[in-house]
Symmetry: C2
Subunit: 324 residues, 2 copies
C-alpha cells in the first residue's frame, strides 16, 4: 500500500526534533524538545513523545514508518548502536524499545547518513547518483551516495570523512588521531585559529564579536566576522577551505563523484570556505574528474529529520516490494 | 546462452598478455607480446593478433566476449579512453577497432579496475562484498568493490587511491600533486629511500644488490635486501608500510570495508610493508572498523587478465539477462 507520510526523528546531543513528512519532502508537522540528560530511557521516552505528537492526527495506516537519525556509530544491518559519544545509547536497543510502544516499523541510522539521504532525496543532491556529502560542524562527518544508493560500508560504519589523514603527524584530532580533516575543519579547530588571531591587534573584529575576550572566540564568531568582510577572519576560513580542498581532491580521485555537498553549521554559512575548496579541486584533481560540482547543502538543520523520513519511506517500499 | 570462455587482455606499457579463461577463472591458453612502440594502431593490431591466437581452436559461440584492461583513464559508460600516459591511446576507439575485426563483444576498463575484478572473482577477495584493493607498483593504483560490484565513479574514473593526500605540502608526486600516497609508496619513492641508505656505510647490503652502485638502487633491490633480513632495508619498507597504514586508516574510516587487498609488484613481495600497514589500521582506525583484514593479492601478474575476462563474462551475462 502506498502510504502518505513518514516520521523522521533527528536525535542530537542538544535537541531532538521529529517531523511528519510527505513523500516529496514537505514537512507537515514538527515538534522539538531539549535532549534529556538523565539516562538512555529518558531519551527514548522523549523520542516516543515527539513521535506521538506529530502522528496524533494521522491514521496509522497512512504512515510508512519511522526513521531515526542518531549521533552514533550504527551497524545498519543489525540495527544496533555500536558507539555513541555524546549520549548514553551504546548497546541500547532503541529500535525495539520504540517499536514496542508505537506500532510502526522503526529504522535507525547514523545522523550524518540521514542528513545525506535528506539532501539526496529532497535537497542539493536531488537526482544525482554519485555524491559525497561532508558536514562541517563540531565534528566533521559525511555520507556517500554511490550509484544512487547510500553507501554505508560493510558494517554500516562508512562515511567518516572527518577522520581521513591529510597531514601525517599533524595536529591532534578529537578522535585520538593526528592530522585528520577534523583536526583542521571542526569547530574547535576554527575557534582555535580565531582565538590565535583575536589575541593580536589585527584580530580586533573577531575579538569584538566575543565581547573583547579573545579566549571566548568561537567558530561562529570567526564566520560572522568573515561574512562581514573582516580580512583576518576570511583568511582563516579560506585557509581552512584550502585544506578541505586538498582532502577532497583525494576523495575525488578515489571516488570520482559528480557532486560534493558541504553542509553542517560551518559548511552552510562559510561560503568563502566552500568556494576555496572548490577552487583547489578544480585546480588539483586528476584530469577528467575536475567537473565535479561543489555546492552548499540546502536543508540546514532539517536535513537529518527529512532524511530519516526518507529512509523510513525507502524501508517501507522495499518491504512492500515497491520501487520509487 | 551460457558460454564457456572469455578472453581477457592486459595491455601494459611493456607487455601485452591475453588469455582464454573459463568461468571459474582457469586460464586454458595464454599468449604474450612486447608492447609495440610505433603508434596506436600497432598496439591495436598486437592485441587483435593475441586474441586470435588464444581463440584459434575455440568455436566463437563458446566465447562470452572480450575484456581488455588498459593503463588508461577510461570512461566506462562511454567505453572511451580519456587519458593514457604510457601509450598513445587517448581518444582512440580501441573497442570499435577490435570489434570490427573480431566478431565478439569487447569491453574496455582501467587495468587497476580489471586487477580488482580479478582478485574479487577469482583471488584474495573472492566472496567479499566490500573491499578496497591497492596496487603498489611504479604507480599506486587501486579499485573499489562496494556492495559486491566494482565501483567506478560517475565517469568511470574512480579508484585512484595513490592520489589521495597524506601530507599537505609533502614531497612531489609524479601526477604533479604533493604529499600523495604515491609520493611515498611508488617504486620511485622507495628507490629514492634505498639510494639514500645505500650511500651510507650501513646501506651496504642494499648497495651490494646494485653491484655496489648506490645510484643504481631500485625498489626491487630494497625489497630483496629486506626479504633477506637486512635491517636497513626492512626499516625502509616498514616506514613505508606505516605511511600506507595511516592512509588506509582514512579509507577504512570513509568506506568501512571488510577487506583490503594489497597487490602490485611491491605489494605482493614486501610482506613486512603490508604487515606494518595492517598493524597501524588495527591500532588507529575508528572503533568498530578495526576488524578489517589486510591481505596480499593472490593472482600476481594474471590479475588484470583474469579480471578482464571476468568483466567480459559479466557484460555478456547482463546483456543476456543472466545472473551469476
Amino acid at each position: 500500500m502506498r502510504t502518505t507520510y513518514a516520521v523522521g526523528v533527528d536525535v542530537g546531543g542538544t535537541r531532538i526534533a521529529a517531523g511528519l513528512v510527505e513523500r516529496k519532502g514537505r514537512m507537515v508537522k514538527e515538534a522539538k524538545v531539549l535532549t534529556p540528560k538523565n539516562g538512555p530511557f529518558a531519551v527514548v521516552d522523549a523520542v516516543i513523545d515527539l513521535i506521538n505528537e506529530v502522528m496524533a492526527t494521522t491514521h496509522p495506516s497512512e504512515i510508512a514508518g519511522i526513521g531515526i537519525g542518531l549521533p552514533a556509530q550504527i551497524d545498519f544491518l543489525k540495527q544496533s548502536i555500536e558507539f555513541c559519544t555524546n549520549l548514553p545509547l551504546a548497546g541500547v536497543d532503541v529500535r525495539s524499545l520504540i517499536m514496542s510502544r508505537i506500532r510502526q516499523d522503526v529504522t535507525i541510522d547514523n545522523d550524518g547518513h540521514c542528513a545525506g539521504i535528506g539532501e539526496a532525496r529532497f535537497g542539493a543532491a536531488k537526482g544525482v547518483r554519485d555524491c559525497v556529502m561532508i558536514t562541517l560542524g563540531t565534528g566533521v562527518g559525511g555520507a556517500l551516495l554511490l550509484d544512487g544508493e547510500p553507501y554505508r560500508g560493510s558494517r554500516g560504519l562508512g562515511g567518516e570523512i572527518g577522520h581521513m589523514v591529510v597531514r601525517l603527524d599533524g595536529p591532534p584530532c578529537p578522535c585520538g588521531g593526528f592530522g585528520h580533516i577534523e583536526s583542521y575543519l571542526g569547530r574547535p579547530a576554527i575557534a582555535a585559529r580565531g582565538r590565535e588571531a583575536a589575541r593580536a591587534y589585527s584580530g580586533q573584529d573577531i575579538r569584538d564579536r566575543a565581547n573583547g575576550d579573545a579566549e571566548a572566540v568561537t567558530a561562529e564568531h570567526v564566520v560572522q566576522a568573515a561574512l562581514a568582510g573582516d580580512e583576518i577572519a576570511r583568511g582563516i576560513l579560506i585557509e581552512a577551505g584550502g585544506i578541505l580542498g586538498e582532502a577532497l581532491v583525494g576523495i575525488v580521485n578515489l571516488l570520482n563523484p559528480r557532486l560534493i555537498v558541504v553542509g553542517g553549521g560551518i559548511g552552510e554559512s562559510a561560503d568563502m570556505l566552500v568556494a576555496r575548496a572548490a577552487e583547489v579541486i578544480a585546480e588539483k584533481a586528476l584530469a577528467g574528474r575536475r567537473d565535479v560540482k561543489v555546492v552548499q547543502a540546502q536543508l540546514g538543520n532539517d536535513a537529518g529529520m527529512l532524511g530519516a523520513a526518507g529512509l523510513a519511506f525507502d524501508e517501507h517500499d522495499s518491504r512492500e516490494g515497491l520501487h520509487r
